[in-house]
């Protein structure tokens, strides 16, 4: 009786259409408002009249031309380094009898989730030309003296930066290449083998051409990742007097902020990203015809490496040693010694832990802010992408195409560019959010929309609309059907999305660095502040804390995805 009447009232008006329209407006405000102010500010001079002076300075002033050039060539170098290292790694894992594949995949995942700026911190301690531990071992081993002989590694250089960026970007390329290999029917390779080609020839003439589109796409992603990083260049390139576009934009934000110039300097990054993503989707779109028919590659007989096992394993040991084992090791070591560059004996101490957790008055505030932001961005973001994903995939009402577009558009907006746009949008009425956590919250939600949307969309595609139709026939509204029928079915996808956004948020630096104030510091910017005074011990303690939180969250994801498999 009661239930029937509720049903009747709900049937009286379907809120889906106005709701969808509201979502379009909300997403448009989130994504387009910052871009609007960015574009407008870039073509205004101080008197707010139209002017292209900022763009002229960008093209003429060597202080901008040089960073742009550095950014472009280093990003291309990172992309290439990733192809050279990760393509063979993917092939080895996918096609050969390489020992320890599961372990390698786990370590690649660890590299993938390590915040790149943590890697950069660790590499300062490993690859500082004179005190860096690797160089200390090198000098000791060969009886050399620092400064007399050139170091083995000089991490404070453009190439040092390329190296460290590549260490935390190669997992993207690995994933692209491994997925492509898994999709290619191994029969093609077997045919080549049956016709008498040696393994290397098959790889070169059959496999490589088939995965080439994936490698190109991966190269583009690696390029874009490197171009938009802030922490790594700030930690490794600035001490050598080298600027990239992101560090340049950051320096324009020192008070008094040169907003017009910062906006103008942001737009090239935006255009490059949009152009490359278009190129990438064109390349990936064509991949389809190579994979028609046949079983996936993993079903084929693995190629026997024989004596090649040694160099193959050496590649994995080198790449994962440099991206995971050595950095994690040096962070742990630094956290537990008084003087990071001295010998262990007599140097062990809990001093940095005591300082960070019992004396440093920013720790509590930063942890609290980071958690509040992580939880609220993950919750709001998950809710948003679930609704948007549902509306856009079910194609029920007006606006579904705009929704999908708006939800994935931020993928083309680099974090620091988004931050410039948000700063311009929310330091003026009607919404003055600068100085509050809200502006950082908006940055995180917007930045994570595409990742969340992809996650949810793939879960939603697995749920057939018939189930909802049944509930609709029984009188439920669409929203009720969504929450009562669909949501429980995609529960694991929702949880995974939440955790993805949470992990992405707690490690965010490149947008936060422009938006934080003393009250709204996060762990990442606190660490960045500590870097400016070379306080490596406390940095190591906070790094370990951040990694522990990240890995606990990943363990939770694994539990849920395992549950789904059962």
């Amino acid at each position: 009786m009661n239930r029937a009447s509720t049903g009747a009232r709900e049937r009286s008006f379907d809120w889906t259409a106005p709701f969808s329209a509201a979502m379009v407006l909300l997403l448009a405000a989130l994504v387009l408002l910052p871009l609007f102010w960015l574009a407008l500010t870039s073509v205004q001079d101080d008197a707010k009249t139209f002017s292209l002076a900022h763009y002229r300075q960008l093209v003429v002033d060597p202080a901008f031309v040089r960073p742009l050039w550095t950014t472009l060539w280093t990003s291309a170098a990172v992309g290439l380094a990733c192809v050279i290292a990760a393509a063979p790694m993917a092939w080895l894992v996918s096609r050969t009898d390489l020992p320890g594949k599961r372990w390698w995949r786990t370590l690649i995942l660890a590299s993938f989730v390590t915040p790149p700026f943590l890697g950069a911190f660790a590499w300062v301690l490993l690859g500082g030309p004179n005190a860096g531990l690797i160089n200390q071992v090198y000098y000791a081993l060969f009886g050399l003296k620092p400064f007399d002989a050139p170091p083995l590694v000089n991490i404070f250089s453009a190439w040092g930066m390329v190296f460290v960026m590549a260490l935390y970007t190669f997992p993207y390329l690995f994933t692209f290449a491994a997925n492509a290999l898994d999709a290619i029917p191994s029969e093609l390779e077997e045919a080549s083998a049956i016709l008498g080609a040696p393994a290397w020839r098959t790889a070169l003439h059959v496999t490589v051409p088939l995965v080439l589109p994936a490698l190109l796409a991966g190269f583009i992603v690696a390029f874009l990742q490197s171009m938009t990083l802030f922490g790594t260049p700030a930690i490794l390139a600035l001490p050598a007097g080298i600027d990239t576009m992101t560090t340049k934009i950051w320096s324009l934000f020192q008070f008094p902020p040169q907003l017009g110039l910062a906006a103008a300097a942001s737009l090239p990054l935006l255009f490059i990203t949009v152009a490359l993503l278009r190129a990438q989707s064109a390349i990936m779109g064509r991949r389809g015809y190579s994979v028609i028919g046949g079983k996936s590659g993993s079903a084929g007989k693995p190629i026997r490496l024989g004596g090649w096992k040694v160099p193959a394993l050496a590649l994995f040991v080198f790449v994962l040693g440099c991206s995971v084992a050595l950095p994690y090791g040096v962070l742990v070591r630094t956290a537990f010694v008084r003087n990071w560059s001295a010998e262990l004996a007599g140097n062990l101490s809990l001093e940095h832990w005591r300082f960070v957790f019992f004396e440093f008055s920013q720790t509590r505030l930063a942890l609290q802010n980071t958690f509040v932001l992580g939880v609220s961005a993950a919750t709001a973001g998950t809710l948003l992408v679930t609704l948007v994903g549902y509306l856009s995939l079910r194609k029920l009402v007006w606006g579904h195409r705009y929704l999908a577009f708006l939800a994935t558009a931020p993928v083309a907006i680099p974090g620091i560019v988004l931050a410039v746009g948000l700063f311009l949008s929310y330091t003026r009425p009607p919404l003055v959010l600068y100085g509050t956590l809200s502006i950082i919250f908006l940055a995180y939600v917007t930045k994570e929309l595409p990742v969340g949307y992809q996650q949810i969309a793939s879960s939603l595609r697995a749920v057939h609309p018939e189930l909802e139709d049944a509930s609709r026939i029984l009188g439920a509204t669409r929203l009720r059907a969504l929450f009562d029928i669909t949501t429980p079915l995609i529960r694991n996808g929702v949880i995974a999305t939440w955790i993805f956004i949470f992990i992405g948020s707690i490690r965010e630096l490149s947008a936060t660095i422009l938006l934080f104030t003393a009250r709204t510091k996060t762990i990442s910017v606190t660490m960045f502040d500590l870097r400016e005074s070379n306080d490596w011990g406390p940095i190591a303690v906070l790094s370990i804390t951040m990694l522990v939180i990240t890995f606990v969250m990943i363990a939770i994801i694994h539990r849920f995805t395992d549950a789904r498999l059962k």
Binding site: E359, T517, A518, S533
Partner: protein, 343 residues
């Protein structure tokens, strides 16, 4: 009649109190109670983060009901953050400490500071306090050169700035940034006045590692990452020496920049009573002695004793700071410096 007179007297007294800034200069029990009611005080400071937390710990021990929040960054960064906050209408900071003394001239001109003279400051020499009582020197330090004793022998160590231009130091030097640090800015002003910009132009071709804070180069040479530091805080060098790090201070023969670092209360401090409790506390002989003993700093408090193992100021050739002359040149110094050494 009597009642009216009492009322008139109270009104006059009240007017007086309002006119003079309302809050007592001394830390009375009433002030402490009012501070406890505010619950916290926010202190932006440029002093090394560990020294700041030593002071904070002492403050918490004395005033457990007033939570002290420390925000530490380089002086120029502190100034930028405060300016950005004020421009955006954010009122967060109560008490500020900066090693760029010209900041206080600017803030005073803009009427942003509260007039307050801590009891101990009344006994400070006149040159170390504002004549109208808006700020006073909380600590002082020198921007010194230094070297790692495992990498450089005393014989080959440089004795002055011009020695650093020798090709043998190429790739071995480390330096702080005047765009970030007030000490570095004050030092850059003094040294370019003495030696001209040609000196820095030549130095910039020496492969200098560019760090930000003046607290960082002493840590860098202590770790052995660089052999010689061009500029860095004397107090961080004392801290390293006390911790048995292999470093030695060089007082350059051309002279060493003397950097005073005042503190002040902001007029719009969100916690005005707690701000005064903190400000008074910072200048007490006890805390000033703590800064000297544990923080390696110099104090201008008349009661403070220097440890015997530190070179007394009178034996060092000093280049005194001159905030009035520096103020109009700050933007230009930062610009020229960044063009030579990067951000």
């Amino acid at each position: 009649m009597g009642l009216v007179r009492v009322a008139a007297l109270s009104a006059a007294l009240f007017a007086c109190v309002v006119a003079t800034g309302a809050i007592a200069q001394e830390t009375t029990p009433a002030l402490v109670a009012a501070a406890a009611k505010e619950g916290k005080v926010v202190w932006y400071t440029a002093v090394d983060v560990k020294v700041a937390e030593v002071v904070a710990r002492a403050f918490r021990a004395e005033y457990p009901n007033v939570a002290l929040e420390v925000e530490r960054a380089g002086s120029e960064r502190v100034f930028q953050r405060i300016s950005q906050e004020f421009q955006s209408g954010i009122k967060n900071v109560d008490v500020v400490n900066s090693s760029d003394a010209s900041h206080f001239l600017l803030w005073k001109q803009q009427k942003l500071l509260a007039m307050h003279t801590p009891p101990d400051v009344q006994r400070f020499p006149a040159q170390y306090k504002d004549s109208e009582g808006y700020y006073a020197v909380w600590r002082a330090s020198l921007s010194v050169m230094g070297y790692n004793t495992k990498l450089v022998t005393p014989q080959e160590a440089p004795t002055g700035y011009l020695d650093l231009l020798d090709p043998k130091w190429k790739g071995k030097l480390v330096k702080s940034h005047p765009g970030y640090s007030g000490t570095s800015l004050t030092g850059t002003f003094a040294i370019t006045k003495l030696l001209g910009w040609e000196y820095l132009e030549k130095l910039s071709t020496q492969g200098v590692q560019q760090l930000q804070s003046t607290t960082a180069p002493p840590k860098s040479i202590a770790s052995g990452e660089r052999a010689v530091m061009v500029d860095g805080n004397e107090y961080n060098m004392f801290i390293e020496i006390d911790a048995k790090s292999p470093v030695k201070i060089i007082y350059a023969k051309e002279g060493t920049p003397f950097v005073t670092s005042p503190t002040a209360i902001f007029a719009d401090a969100p916690h005005p009573n707690a701000a005064r409790v903190l400000q008074n506390f910072l200048y007490t002989a006890k805390i000033q002695q703590l800064l000297v003993n544990e923080g390696g700093l110099r104090s201008v408090h008349p009661d403070v004793k220097e440890p015997a193992d530190r070179t007394p100021l009178k034996d060092i050739k000093l280049l005194p700071d001159d905030p009035v002359a520096m103020l109009p040149q700050i933007a230009e110094i930062k610009k020229r410096y960044t063009a030579l050494f990067g951000n």
